[in-house]
Point group: C2
Chain length 181, copies 2
DNA sequence: GATTACCGCATCATTGATGTTGCAGTTAGG
DNA sequence: CCTAACTGCAACATCAATGATGCGGTAATC
């Protein structure tokens, strides 16, 4: 692929992620325009709207997978792995703000991949329970969901918070909550 | 308004909230069908799609406002008010699963009302800080956002949890987090 | 039980989004 | 500098959603 084509491609993917996050019904024309590209250029690269969405998901899943790999969720000491994961996943969530849950109803391939990554985080939460970093009796599914939501929240509602500080905030809230004493 | 018309109206609003939560691009036809009503009936009651969305938001805002009033956020002891608010707002979030943030971009009236309600919760969070129920130094905006997200999460991702238990879970997570000791 | 409000059904017009194609112009890369 | 790849532009076809309307039938309310 030629260099300018590659630039346009990533521009379209990023513009797509950004516009679709604000409005899941964003038109191809709007995405193309935001990417500084003609509408037909997008159609030439992606056969249909679904293919474009798929490509955006794949891009996000790729980034997330790298973070999961580099966090060493299984090997590293748990607090270290948690912090490394958070510091990595928050920028990913910002770079690809598109919400997976809502949009990959019609993309089974992306769903499968998402579930594989999800399973790695589930295992991490179980490990946290086993090693006593979470209170006994805490529901693993609840802990997992809360962690996801805290990540999304700090990523998108507090965009000016740098990743290290954001990771601290999420970890502290997750483990200690916000209450006194 | 005739009784059957009122029934149809609420059926359309509920179907709309449900379908729009799953897919913000859900068609009027799909909503009408889900409500067991002809498409033209919906068009007769609501001049356009925007009006239907507005009505759904208004319905949710009405319910939320009742909860805010009855929680007595200013007068009651803080833990009592918090629990009462949670126990009330979780069913509202379930009854009207539509996400406000995403959808009322184009509905300034709803936005204003939402912000008024939001201000009441902001004040409640400030009160919690002042009275020492939240750790000193905790960012009020962060606490506020986390509370909202915990409510939405327990409401939609744990639909089988009864409101009292769900409220306990949210309050405990909010104040104490999930970590050990 | 009469009336009137409401509904379902069929039909039509309109619009915005999607997707395709041909062509001329530009630019990356050998 | 030459070529092939890529783009923008214009034009076109298609389709699904929106919105309007008239009419016969049904059901709520008095």
């Amino acid at each position: 692929m030629r260099a300018d084509a590659a630039r346009n491609l990533t521009a379209v993917l990023h513009a797509g992620a950004r516009l679709l996050a604000e409005d899941p019904g964003a038109s191809m024309a709007a995405i193309a325009s935001a990417a500084g590209v003609d509408r037909t250029t997008v159609h030439r690269r992606f056969a249909n709207r679904e293919a474009l969405l798929s490509a955006v998901f794949q891009a996000k899943l790729d980034s997330a997978e790298s973070v999961l790999d580099e966090a060493r969720l299984v090997e590293s000491p748990l607090p270290v792995a948690l912090h490394r994961y958070l510091e990595g996943i928050i920028p990913v969530s910002r770079e690809w703000p598109v919400d997976m849950r809502l949009m990959m109803q019609k993309d089974p391939a992306a769903r499968v991949r998402r579930e594989e990554q999800s399973a790695r985080l589930d295992a991490f939460i179980r490990r946290a329970l086993d090693e006593g970093y979470l209170r006994a009796g805490v529901d693993a599914a609840w802990a997992r969901t809360v962690l996801d939501e805290l990540v999304d929240t700090v990523a998108h509602r507090f965009p000016d918070l740098e990743p290290p500080q954001a990771a601290d905030l999420v970890a502290a809230t997750f483990l200690n909550g916000l209450g006194a004493t």
